[in-house]
């Protein structure tokens, strides 16, 4: 037969195949595949040298890419730098009232003072403990619940509309209800975070389970896998990226909601810091609190994005 373009196999590359599929293959029938793995560790010293060479090559390559990276960094930070410059210039040029919008440098100085006397750290810690425990609780409850609801289709059909109603009820609108029922302490604050974080995680998990590629389910069925195995080997791994998108959304929500909650009847926390500063007319301190919150929000989100990327690296790149 004439070689067809695109065929990568000649009969020469398939030496061990003569063992055939028909006979259950035992180890001695497979000398060829194990050979390359066995030979790798035997050449220790030379592979060390090769690794060193590879490292220098990598360094050289990254040095060559340095201007490129710098340019990329400059592009990404340009807008933020512009905002800071505008913030600095507007009050100084009299475009904004200096009392209500102090220049950025004053805010930075106030931030530094707050950081130095430990106030910032105390308040940030109080906020983070609340939002992380609320966020964690929500994830721990909502993911298994979502998997369960998504797996049992009738349950999903019954609960779907109800979940939509809850999701579209702004969590902050319910804050008075939480305060009424749970008081003004930590419980109500953490509860509202749990509530707000639950919906994105729950709904994304349900829809992840329900949108598993039907061909994969058919494949699993054709292999006679048990329901538990299908869940473990097909549904769970294929749901991970979408569940994680929900978790990332919840991460952002946890900080947004908490700060608002802290503005009502709290004795610590970044929301309290902002509110108290405003009452005491410590305007630069107020802005310092706001900047801290955005920084924490961005950092948390970046962390979750990085984690998400790692967990869904197998996903087809967009457009591919």
């Amino acid at each position: 037969m004439s070689p067809v373009p695109g065929t990568t196999t000649g009969s020469g590359t398939t030496a061990p195949d003569s063992a055939q599929a028909a006979a259950p293959l035992s180890a001695p029938a497979l000398p060829a595949p194990s050979a390359p793995t066995a030979s790798a560790p035997s050449e220790g010293p030379s592979s060390d040298a090769r690794r060193a060479l590879a490292t220098t090559e990598r360094i050289r390559r990254s040095v060559r890419r340095l201007p490129h990276l710098l340019l990329g960094g400059a592009t990404r930070s340009a807008a933020i730098v512009a905002l800071v410059l505008l913030w600095e210039a507007a009050p100084r040029l009299g475009l904004a009232d200096r009392t209500f919008l102090p220049p950025f440098s004053e805010v930075a100085a106030a931030w530094w003072d707050l950081a130095a006397d430990g106030q910032l750290a105390d308040n940030a810690r109080a906020s983070l403990v609340r939002s992380l425990s609320g966020f964690g609780l929500a994830v721990v409850c909502a993911v298994p619940l979502g998997l369960l609801i998504g797996w049992y289709r009738p349950v999903a059909d019954v609960l779907g509309p109800l979940l939509e109603v809850f999701r579209n009820t702004a969590a902050l609108a319910l804050l008075p209800v939480f305060v009424l029922l749970l008081g003004i302490g930590e419980t109500s604050k953490i509860s509202i975070v749990v509530y707000a974080c639950t919906w994105p995680v729950l709904l994304n998990t349900i829809s992840a389970v329900r949108t598993v590629d039907p061909t994969l389910l058919k494949l699993a069925k054709s292999m006679d896998l048990s329901a538990a195995r299908v869940f473990q080997k097909v549904i769970l791994p294929s749901s991970v990226p979408m569940i994680f998108t929900g978790i990332r959304l919840a991460g952002a929500v946890s900080i947004l909601v908490l700060v608002a909650a802290e503005m009502i009847g709290a004795k610590a926390g970044l929301g309290y810091l902002i509110n108290a500063s405003q009452y005491n007319f410590a305007i630069p301190q107020m802005y310092a609190g706001i900047v801290t919150i955005s920084a924490i929000g961005v950092a948390f989100n970046q962390l979750l994005v990085a984690l998400e990327k790692r967990l869904s690296s197998w996903r087809v790149p967009a457009g591919g």
């Binding site: 599929a21 194990s34 087809v316």
Partner: protein, 282 residues
């Protein structure tokens, strides 16, 4: 080797008067359901180690027939026997190759082949070695660690074929496996499949709507009617030695067989198209 088609006393696969109906919902707003007959009176016998191609117009129930044989669905009437025993569900004695590859995108090529082995309870240690070997069999040595999205369509289907073969089923069910591939890749995979079939001696049931593909691959070609589907005629294909000629597809015997199947199909395709049009306009 399966080159000879001596009909053994007990055929590997028997379809006996197989009938399949579906309940379909009528148009939106209408709560009535209606019965839809996909297959009606399918009779076909397939010998052990045989390569049979089933060809028919679109919507004739080819894939339904394969689903029934795979045990993914139960027939409404008639019997399907595998090794003399009725098919009651899916099992590791059959494996399906899908048109859309059905690879697990989060697993590497090796992991995907191992998936089939995990399903059939092959212990962990021999799994990787065996998966490696079958990737070699389909010409993918060196691609073990690639994820499906890093492979071409042809390579993905090779992985799927390796997965199906690795757990050593007696019967390979292929549902238009090459339909989504470009012409060159398809031809090379057809050759590859024949080579693997000759080497492993599996019974292959291959569904296609391509006449050329049917003639090229099949020892026998079962032509199906339009809906409700049944086997119109089984055409034995004798092309002489496959390895003797360079371009089998341009040989006179190939053309003769091709024309025969084309004529058998032609009326059915026209009828199927008329049926489809009527359905849309209702």
């Amino acid at each position: 080797m399966p080159g000879t088609t001596t009909q053994s006393p007990t055929p590997k696969i028997v379809f006996k008067d197989v009938r399949k109906e579906f309940t379909v919902k009528d148009r939106a707003g209408n709560r009535r359901t209606s019965r839809f007959t996909a297959l009606d009176g399918v009779d076909l016998e397939i010998a052990d180690g045989e390569f049979v191609v089933i060809v028919g117009p679109s919507g004739c129930g080819k894939s339904t027939l394969l689903d029934l044989l795979a045990g993914l669905d139960r027939p409404t009437g008639g019997r399907i026997l595998l090794d003399g025993r009725p098919v009651t569900g899916p099992g590791p004695d059959r494996s399906v190759v899908f048109q859309q590859y059905a690879l697990l995108p989060w697993r590497t090529a090796l992991g995907n082949v191992e998936f089939g082995l995990e399903a059939t309870g092959v212990p962990r240690r021999p799994r990787a070695a065996r998966a490696r070997e079958f990737l070699g069999l389909v010409g993918l040595s060196g691609f073990e660690d690639r994820h499906p999205h890093e492979l071409s369509g042809g390579m993905r289907q090779r992985v799927a074929i390796a997965r199906s073969l690795a757990y050593d089923p007696g019967v390979l069910l292929m549902d238009e496996p090459f339909a989504a591939l470009d012409a060159q890749t398809r031809e090379s995979l057809q050759d590859e499949l024949l080579r693997i079939w000759q080497r492993t001696g599996k019974t292959v049931v291959f569904i296609t709507h391509g006449i050329d593909e049917a003639v090229y691959l099949g020892q026998r070609v079962a032509v199906m009617t339009s809906r409700p589907g049944r086997v119109k005629q089984v055409v034995p294909v004798a092309l002489g030695s496959r390895t003797a000629t360079d371009d089998l597809r341009s040989s006179p015997e190939f053309a003769r067989h091709r024309h025969r199947i084309w004529s058998l199909l032609h009326d059915e395709v026209t009828r199927a198209q008329r049926l489809e049009k009527e359905e849309v306009s209702v």
